[in-house]
Amino acid sequence: MLTGAFELDRVTVRFGANVALDEVSLNIEPGALIALVGPSGAGKTTLLRLLNGSARAVSGTVCVDGRDLSALAPADLRQLRASIGVIHQDLRLVPNLRVSQNVLAGGFGRQNMWGAVRAMVWPPRRDIQLVHALLERVGIAEKLFHRLDRLSGGQQQRVAIARALYQEPRVLLADEPVASVDPARALDTVALLRDICRERGLTLVMSLHNLDLAREFFPRLVGLRQGRVVFDGAPADLDDDRYRALYQLPRAEVADDGA
């Protein structure tokens, strides 16, 4: 049973000539709430992909619960990924299926082919009740049987969250969930994810480019810049110097931004 403890030891990830992550070392305890911050292209998405085995390390080791990811048997890898829920930046839902079907698809990792077919075509009552409860938690319960593409962008994102939660994961990875969302809604979404993970004791790793949101909601920030970890600690420790090192803004602009 996955506990959600990750250990990255001097991991390098390369795509062709481009080094996405450079000797990154990171420890994540179960139940941690972590915000990944840093400028675009820093490697935040790659780091998230490392955690569920979607990216391969060229050197260094990625360990989950003490087991090396690259040595996992395919069946074990599948089980691991089923316990890690991912909310992608582009959501990756199926527009012409209903909300209920999109959420139920989160259960495919635990089912064989026939179970999956049953879930899509004639789902058991209990499963629909679970889906309904999840949708209630994220605030769109009445959209249970609506077609996905009739929902607004924000509502579709809630569906993506519900799908990830339906996996009954131990870990939740969120890739820039509020990148193109207006500020008020962004606050609600980040708060929702943080609260859900706190309630259920899930490990949450979320990449954010809005540092204020990260500072407000997360007890631990990991700052990436050009594939390297340049900051790892509490928001209070992120003083002006470290902030500049992370985002490399000239002094004058920092003063304008204020506290």
Binding site: S54, A55, R56, A71, A82, N96, A105, G106, A116, R147
Partner: protein
Amino acid sequence: MMAPERSRPMSAKAIVLLLLVAAGVWSAVALDLDPRRLWPGREGWLLAAGFFGHAFRPALTHEGVDIPAGATPLLLGALAAAVRTVAFAAAAMLPSLVVGLLLGFGGSTAWWAADRDRGQAGRVSAGVRFRATFGPGVSTVCRLAAALLRSVHELLWAVLFLAAFGITPLAAVIAIALPYAGTLAKVFAELIDEAPRPAAGALREAGAGPVAVFLFGLLPRAMPDMTAYAIYRFECALRAAAVLGFFGFPTLGYHIAASFENLYYGEVWTYLYVLVALVVAVEWWSVQVRRRLVA
């Protein structure tokens, strides 16, 4: 001082266009297509005027002089022929859809690569290895089979069956179904391969099996276009079924040929309009379905 512009080599597209024009010229010469022969001469004009004149006066009752009493009225007969045309076409769609889906799935690379993740950690599973080894071969075989089926026109299949073991209505339906299965397979394979894959990828990352990923992550993205094309194929099947009437089957083509040879041009236009009405009805249906499928 600006350097003089170097002249660009002719683009590939310009070459294609030029070749098209050249092919056109060649074809006109090869067939001895003389525009003057389009002028039918006095008799021809009378015939043409007589025929096309009836376009505005389609017959509503039989045009012949010695119609036996109790014969089916013209319009009812036309309707019956239309129903039989639909029956032939609909019957042909069943086997062609079944075979088309099978060959289409088999011929699509997405089906075989449904669980191939590039750059994924962990060891490669036996299932992925199996699919990677056999996939390309089976896919090619499926595509070849579809191409072979497609290369013989449905009427030629009908002629082949006629010569081989005598033609029956069932053989006519199979004659339509064979090339249509090939066409459906080709288009389905292309649509599946071109379908957007983010959803399938996300399901794969959540641990879903390859069949589930294909059926519920990839196929729904291709489904609206596949359905629209299937309806279009049915419309083509209607036309094919009508033409089979020229071979003696009881569809609209039979009546068109018979009335034309008897010089009952009004009746010919009646049957033509019935055929047009069928096609228009199916096209309207197709537009309505497509509108609702794509929300």
